[in-house]
């Protein structure tokens, strides 16, 4: 939508005011243009203050004690505001203003009468379905897209591609069923399946209120029985989940206790503070019944359907017999397979579309869920789109070709940014546009020196000791020219920066860390290496302090999202020319990288992240030694999760980060900001990760011109399961 047209602008402003007064956290939608108007600014502040006093207590409980004024300023600070003009613009050129679909939180503004799609209306008429009022819960989720294209038209099939049965995330990311969820900007928590949620003051007890009258896609009521079924018979049952997922435990490993208060209220209680819990359950970890990401779904499960496969309900013998008949070893794995709607289309769901054909087929088809619990601002039941049809494209290049040909309506997943010139050149022919999502702070090519290397007898201890030297890592980091990578790998977009360049994250330590140890300085790098006693050997490369040849090995994944082998070649050349470091590149297949890291065999490894846009306490895999995936400490990361494996880190700075993280995870958001900053500071001062180029549009979407209500200027995050965070049920086609 064009905001430049003055007439349109007034309309937009009016709509924006309406929306702001409806949604309490309204400032987040203010576009740059709006802020420039003095009158508008005043209006906004006034509105927010008025509503805040009522709403804040109820919705964002952690911020209760913070004075209202302060909340407003803080929100403005955490909001993503491009500061550096051109540099930033390169990655954001197409995103322009910030606009997205928001939830209407003020119940007095909710619509009172409901509409539905013509095909469902016909079914109601023929008696196949109950009327829309009976299908919706008493208080449905209300989505307002007036910042975008507003109330839409029903109809249309969303054509998309997936790469095979393993690509479950494809549908999980666009069809959400979280208990609570983020807004599109990832700044505020919002109700989702739960109508309301709150935390007690010391963050040990969390209360969730479900939507009364909400139903599964087969028409059965959705109640706390489904939550308790999941808790008692999935989470606690060792046959189903032998290893308990991290989100059910505090940072110190204390399991939570789920309790149903009544049919629509339940609580989760921990024995110690768990301040990060609400944010955690809004993210990737417990993303709901449809999302199988950890194991066997999260948070709730359809008791009326799933109990027929569970030993506690039909007896172990019968459950095992069912499993054997279906070809499974035991009833636990069979149960989990049945609990996965992406492959078992018989399972009811609570998502906007329900499965008709699953991911184990050539084409996966999803149809409108007639019981979906959300409506638009005028009360029309969502989703607008009739269907999602995903066609199989096993090869990413074939998929790319079909994207260029304009075969898909909205496709971001599996579209590599190196296709950008081709995509842009064919925009008109393909009838689509290319849109960037800001992935600020995420460096898609990051080299992780493994500070656990050789610590547990898996590799050369002498090289490990070098990797544990901060000066060695610093020299590596300033020993190559990031501009080469920017030009060759990122099409000249983005900018070089340290892992602390995360302007939109509350834990960003400040501008003085932005370029720390991340600009080319050959003299300084050589000085640091000389200081470590690494002398030049006969072949022109530096040797180990003992005099043996020093060869560093880097694991670069082939066929990943960005060309890490290409980047490694550029780094190799610079290290050889500038600082006499001999780098050997080991192109590695993705799953082999996993094995190497899990066994602590990786010396250096390349992966994305390192100052990612994912909040520090929700997805810290690449920010500190958190688990096997943390390249800077895969062994101590695994030890952090389970103290029976490997051992504590030898590196003091890694140990310090881990300790700080444990402290922070227990605290509510406002209190853990300083701790978060401290973790980031250590990462950048000690160069735990050698980042390259940040603020690239690492994620691009190819959108057909008739697609409406697609947000602009919002970030791409793993935690927010983008594009799920765009509220896909409000998408519609203007055909």
């Amino acid at each position: 939508m064009s905001i430049l047209n003055p007439y349109r602008m007034i309309t937009v402003l009016l709509l924006a005011f309406a929306a702001i007064s409806i949604a309490c956290g309204g400032t987040e939608v203010v576009t740059e243009k709006v802020v420039q108007t003095v009158v508008v600014e005043k209006e906004v502040v006034k509105e927010v203050e008025k509503i805040k006093e009522v709403e804040v207590e109820k919705v964002v409980i952690q911020e209760k004690e913070v004075p209202v004024d302060k909340v407003v300023t803080k929100e403005v600070v955490t909001k993503y505001t491009p500061e550096e003009g051109e540099e930033k613009a390169s990655g954001q050129a197409a995103t322009g203003e910030v606009a997205y679909t928001r939830q209407v939180l003020d119940k007095s503004k909710h619509p009172t009468s409901y509409g539905e799609s013509p095909d469902l209306a016909a079914k109601v008429k023929s008696g196949d379905l109950p009327p829309v009022e009976d299908r919706l819960p008493k208080n449905p989720m209300v989505l307002d897209s007036s910042d975008l294209d507003g109330v839409g038209k029903y109809g249309g099939t969303w054509k998309r591609a997936f790469t095979g049965p393993a690509d479950e995330q494809n549908i999980e990311r666009i069809s959400k069923n979280h208990m609570i969820f983020w807004n599109s900007q990832m700044t505020e928590l919002r109700p989702h399946i739960a109508e309301d949620f709150e935390s007690n003051a010391d963050a040990t007890k969390f209360t969730f209120k479900l939507r009364e009258g909400m139903k599964w896609s087969d028409g059965e009521p959705f109640t706390t029985a489904d939550v308790m079924f999941w808790y008692e018979h999935i989470l606690l049952d060792d046959n189903v989940l032998p290893a308990k997922p991290g989100y059910s435990k505090t940072a110190n490993g204390e399991m939570g206790v789920w309790k149903a208060v009544d049919d629509y209220t339940y609580t989760v209680e921990f024995s110690e503070p768990y301040g990060v819990y609400l944010e955690l359950v809004s993210g990737l970890s417990v993303a709901g019944h449809l999302t199988q990401f950890p194991v066997c779904g999260g948070g709730f499960s359809p008791k009326h359907y799933m109990s027929q496969f569970h030993a506690a309900f039909v007896g172990e013998e019968e459950a095992n017999k069912l499993a054997k008949d279906a070809g499974y070893d035991n009833w636990g794995t069979h149960f989990c397979a049945k609990n996965n709607p992406v492959k078992n289309v018989d399972s009811p769901v609570t998502t906007a579309w329900m499965p008709i054909k699953g991911f184990n087929e050539e084409e996966s088809v999803w149809e409108r869920n007639p019981y979906y619990w959300a409506v638009d601002a005028e009360g029309n039941q969502l989703p607008y789109l009739d269907k999602i049809v995903l066609s199989l494209a096993e090869d990413v290049e074939v998929l790319g070709l079909r994207v260029v040909a304009g075969e898909f309506d909205i496709q971001g997943r599996h579209v590599k940014p190196d296709k950008l010139p081709l995509l842009r050149e064919n925009e008109e022919k393909g009838g689509y546009r290319v849109q960037f999502t800001s992935a600020a702070g995420s460096s898609a090519i990051t080299v992780y020196p493994n500070q656990d290397y050789g610590a547990h007898g898996e590799g050369d201890k002498e090289i490990g000791d070098l990797l544990r030297e901060a000066d060695f890592r610093r020299a590596l980091s300033i020993g190559f020219d990031r501009e080469q990578i920017r030009e060759a790998i990122f099409l000249g977009m983005g900018r070089s920066a340290s892992a602390c360049a995360i302007p939109d994250e509350p834990y960003a330590p400040g501008p003085e860390y932005d370029q720390m140890w991340s600009t080319l300085d050959v003299a300084k790098a050589n000085e640091l290496l000389d200081g470590l006693g690494l002398k030049e050997g006969s072949d022109g490369f530096r040797t180990k302090p003992s005099g043996d040849p020093l060869v560093l090995d880097v694991i670069a994944v082939t066929g990943a999202f960005t060309d890490s082998v290409g980047a490694a070649e550029l780094i190799k050349k610079d290290w050889a020319d500038n600082i006499g470091i001999n780098l050997k590149i080991t192109p590695t297949e993705r799953s082999l990288r996993e094995t190497r890291l899990k066994n602590n065999e990786a010396m250096l490894s390349i992966w994305g992240g390192g100052g990612a846009s994912e909040p520090l306490f929700l997805f810290p895999n690449h920010d500190l030694a958190f688990n096997w995936e943390s390249g800077m400490g895969p062994a101590s990361g695994q030890w952090f999760q389970d103290s029976s494996v490997f051992g504590p880190p030898l590196s003091a700075s890694i140990a310090k980060q881990q300790e700080l993280w444990r402290q922070g995870a227990a605290l509510p958001r406002s209190e853990r900001i300083d701790i978060g900053k401290e973790i980031r500071k250590i990462a950048c001062e000690e160069v735990h990760a050698i980042t390259t180029i940040t603020e690239t549009p690492a994620w691009i979407f190819v959108i057909k011109n008739y697609v409406r209500n697609f947000p602009t200027g919002v970030p791409f995050t793993t935690v927010g399961q983008t594009p799920g965070s765009f509220y896909t049920e409000a998408f519609w086609f203007d055909q």
Binding site: K419, L420, L422, E425, Q484, A488, E569
Partner: protein, 378 residues
Amino acid sequence: MSSESNIEKVDNINSEERVSVASQGQLIWWRFRKHKLAVFSAILLLLLYLTTLFAEFFATSDPLESEAFRGLIQPQPIHFFDEGKLSPHVCAMEGTRDPYTYKKTYKPNCDKKTPVEFFTKGYEYEWLGLIPMDRHLIGVPEGYLAEEHIFLLGTDIQGRDMWSRIWVASRLSLSIGLVGVTLTLIFGISLGGISGFYGGFIDTIIQRIIEIIRAVPTIPLWMALSAAMPFSWSIVQIYFSITLIISLFAWTDLARVVRGRFLSLREEDFVTAAVLSGANERRIIFRHVMPSLYSHIIAAVSLAIPLMIISETALSFLGLGLQAPAISWGTLLQGTQNVQSVALYKWLMIPAFPVVGSILLFNFLGDGLRDAADPYSD
């Protein structure tokens, strides 16, 4: 093959007599000469192997020298004449990035010319890893850098010169499997021969071994081996040793055929005659039986060499064989497995031509040799 004098000697006799007195070698040579395409292929292949031996001499730039700001330049022609005078030069390539599509486009600017010289000094290299040299066929005068000026076949995404890379890649791709093929031949012929000639207990043992080996699937073996090779080895070393190990598995086909031929040939009269004349086993095998197998062995070799080139290319293309820092036809082509190379950067696919070309040449040559090696057929 035969010497000139031999041919002259028999030229005086009429053609029918000539054939009846000619040695087998002469017959083969005559027959081969008639196959014009095969002769032509043989000459070209010889040239190809000779020139790739001097790959760095033909290269203009250091094939590893990257500069991202010179990435994806299209092929640049050499202009031989400047205003009517012979003065070889290239025009400067100036690139701009489109702010909307992010595509970088280069335009030749012939106001900025760089003279081109032949047999000139360029980057330093060690010929065959032994003799330090810096001569190149094509280069720029002193004071210029070839890496900055000459892009005969364009550059890849990291700004490395495709012309130079193709030369260096050709040497590796054409030669890396030769040792493996030779080993296959030696194993195949000797084990197959022993098995067929002696028969009995030895035959049974060797045949059972062959059956066991044939049951081992190659691709999973390949994957396992590439993971199992010593970590400190370079990619080329790993690949080379895998081809050697694979050749220990690949000889069975040839061995089976050789055994079969031996089984039938040892019953022939001329073998019996040789045995009765007191010829020893070695003489019988190599003098009497082997020549009847030449055509088959040549056919096997003429198939095995192109197969080895193709498998290097194919395995590298799949990411199993040679990989990126190594330069081979397969790795060069691996970089083009994307839509944008086909649509926008077509010159990146040039390495496909030497692959197709050399395979065809080998097949023509093999064709001619196979016909020639069995000169008594007609």
